[in-house]
């Protein structure tokens, strides 16, 4: 082509300014480039309930709980450096508190869920507080222990319905409230966390992950900051638990089931650690998949393992990190 020289240029090059999360936009096209993925995610989540039938709507609700747990897991592991396998404890704490408030005091779920979210997070943080000095695998092991240990305490003391659990808890008004409550919670916590990690407190969290001794040498009490991070993650997890007990109208020992600790990890690895969106995506893929394979019974666990191994070996960055990288590599023709 004579007179009209063109060259390929990456879309993101022209809008990135020096540092992460700061852009210079000069056209609607560029703005759309940034907004589109976020819009697709939000609208996609919000439209999902409209196209599903009754059965899959219930699946969506439980997938949402796993998505919240995965989000919290990813935040703690990648942005604070705490690999927390205590997801089931968050669910159990939130679920039991909310369920008990409803069963014994007759509080409506609209009151018991928020209270259980906060109270559960406070309890989870206090219980994990002595372990926050531990790093890496040691913290992971100790956090994994808490849900198991809670189960035996409940059985041994014969409280809270013991092995039977308590049934006939109040449900949420209808299936639409149930779905949009959890989807709203996911969108809210996702965008809140994405904002948080670039704030000063998020920078301190990241520094603790990179080098905790240096953070101490800068005069900051790392235990306090780790506790804040655990509190944030357990708020998200305990909301999931409180919601779960009212979703099923039942509370029992299976709220402390190992699934709640393990599946979020699989979801995070599959979706892409450190992207925050990825784990949510992973949970929304893995939970329906496991539902569809219900006929295989316990063999489903083998499938999880295969997926986990497959992703770790062949796509260690995970789905979302891969897609994000490809998205930023989109090129367009520009006149020279």
């Amino acid at each position: 082509m004579v007179g009209e020289e063109k060259r390929k240029k990456r879309l993101d090059r022209s809008i990135k300014v020096r540092t992460e999360g700061l852009y210079a936009l000069s056209s609607w096209g560029e703005m759309a480039y940034l907004i589109m993925p976020r819009l697709v995610l939000i609208l996609g989540l919000l439209f999902l309930p409209l196209i599903l039938d009754m059965y899959w709507q219930r699946v969506l609700c439980s997938a949402g709980i796993y998505a919240l747990l995965a989000l919290g897991f990813d935040f703690l592991a990648e942005y604070v450096g705490l690999v927390c396998l205590g997801g089931a404890f968050f669910i159990g704490a939130g679920g039991y508190i909310s369920g008990l408030l409803n069963a014994y005091l007759g509080w409506s779920p609209l009151l018991s869920i928020p209270i259980a979210t906060i109270a559960g997070a406070v309890i989870s943080t206090l219980i994990l507080l002595p372990c926050l000095r531990l790093r890496g695998i040691y913290f992971a092991i100790v956090s994994f222990m808490f849900p198991l240990f809670s189960v035996y305490i409940i059985i041994a003391l014969n409280v809270f319905g013991s092995t039977e659990g308590i049934s006939a808890l109040a449900n949420l008004p209808n299936i639409w409230v149930e779905q949009y409550l959890i989807l709203g919670a996911i969108i809210l916590s996702l965008f809140a966390l994405r904002r948080l990690v670039h704030e000063d407190i998020g920078v301190i969290f990241q520094s603790i992950k990179d080098n905790d001794q240096a953070v101490k040498a800068s005069g900051i009490n790392i235990t306090v900051y780790k506790a804040k991070a655990v509190f944030i993650a357990s708020l998200i997890g305990c909301f999931g638990g409180a919601y779960l007990s009212h979703l099923y109208g039942w509370l029992g020992l299976s709220l402390f089931a190992m699934d709640f600790s393990i599946l979020p990890i699989a979801a995070s690895v599959m979706g892409g650690m450190g992207s925050l969106v990825g784990p949510v995506l992973g949970a929304f893929i893995l939970t329906p998949l496991s539902e569809a394979l219900r006929g295989f019974g316990q063999l489903r666990v083998v499938l999880y393992c295969l997926i986990l191994i497959g992703f770790m070996v062949y796509k260690p960055e995970g789905l979302m990190n891969y897609l994000e990288r490809k998205y930023h590599q989109f090129e367009h023709w520009e006149k020279v």
Partner: protein, 251 residues
């Protein structure tokens, strides 16, 4: 001199298993001076720093900072009193950009207390501070991830993280090691300026020639003990110091 001392270490001891890493070391640091600490490898210099700053718990002994005994106080609190350190093995937050590395000290209780909410744009303050220690003020360097920076910058970053706290005492653990001559010569005026502004410094060093330009006083360590103390020219003439560095005359 003792009335003026800002930091006083008394008979501090530490053993790791059977190894007596620091043995009854005592010295004091006067306000505004630069004290050099030298000694062969493994003589306990870094352990001494760790003991003073609370990163390692001392077996016995006392450390007085501004007349307060700081033994047993956790390191992050000691830093907030105004006693800071750099690390011999640099510890940048490698995934964060250089200026974001300074967000951490700028959020410490010590800085928050003094700025009392009117610091303005904290990122701009961080970039100013990097310029102060010799980062180019351009569109790239301060925004690069710390993990990708060359050694010279990392040492400056390490120093900048201390300066950000506006400390009374800085303990520099081998800030010159691994740097080229030109990098060192550009760092020296900065350290001199810090001293003029009233910052007291304790410098652990192996680069003796550069240290002698700066230090007002020296202490020499060998096998965990303080073997000499005095002004630089005297200390290097000391027989015991020569033996520690070069071996005994008979061998």
């Amino acid at each position: 001199m003792h009335d003026e001392s800002i930091l006083r270490v008394e008979n501090i001891r530490k053993a790791f298993g059977g190894v007596q890493a620091v043995k009854d070391v005592s010295f004091s640091l006067s306000k505004g001076e630069i004290l050099g600490v030298i000694g062969p490898n493994g003589s306990g210099k870094t352990t001494l720093v760790n003991l003073i700053t609370g990163f390692v718990r001392a077996d016995s002994g006392n450390v007085f900072f501004k007349k307060r005994n700081i033994i047993g106080i956790p390191p992050h609190k000691i830093v907030n009193f105004g006693l800071t350190r750099t690390f011999q093995i640099m510890r940048p937050y490698h995934s964060l950009s250089a200026f974001k590395n300074l967000i951490v000290p700028l959020n410490s209780p010590r800085v928050r207390r003094t700025r009392s909410g009117k610091l303005g744009d904290i990122d701009a303050v961080a970039i100013d501070m990097l310029e102060e220690v010799g980062f180019e003020r351009d569109a790239r360097v301060p925004y690069k991830a710390a993990g990708t920076l060359p050694l010279g910058y990392l040492k400056r970053l390490e120093l900048a993280r201390c300066i950000a706290l506006r400390p009374d005492v800085i303990i520099c653990d081998e800030i010159f090691s691994g740097l080229s001559m030109s990098e060192i010569t550009s760092l020296i005026p900065f350290l001199e300026k810090l001293q003029m502004e009233g910052t007291t410094m304790m410098m652990i060093e192996h680069r003796l020639r550069e240290l002698f330009k700066l230090a007002n006083r020296l202490i020499v360590m060998n096998f965990g003990e303080k073997i000499a103390e005095g002004i630089p020219v005297e200390v290097i003439e000391n027989q015991e110091v020569k033996e520690a560095y070069l071996g005994t005359a008979t061998s």
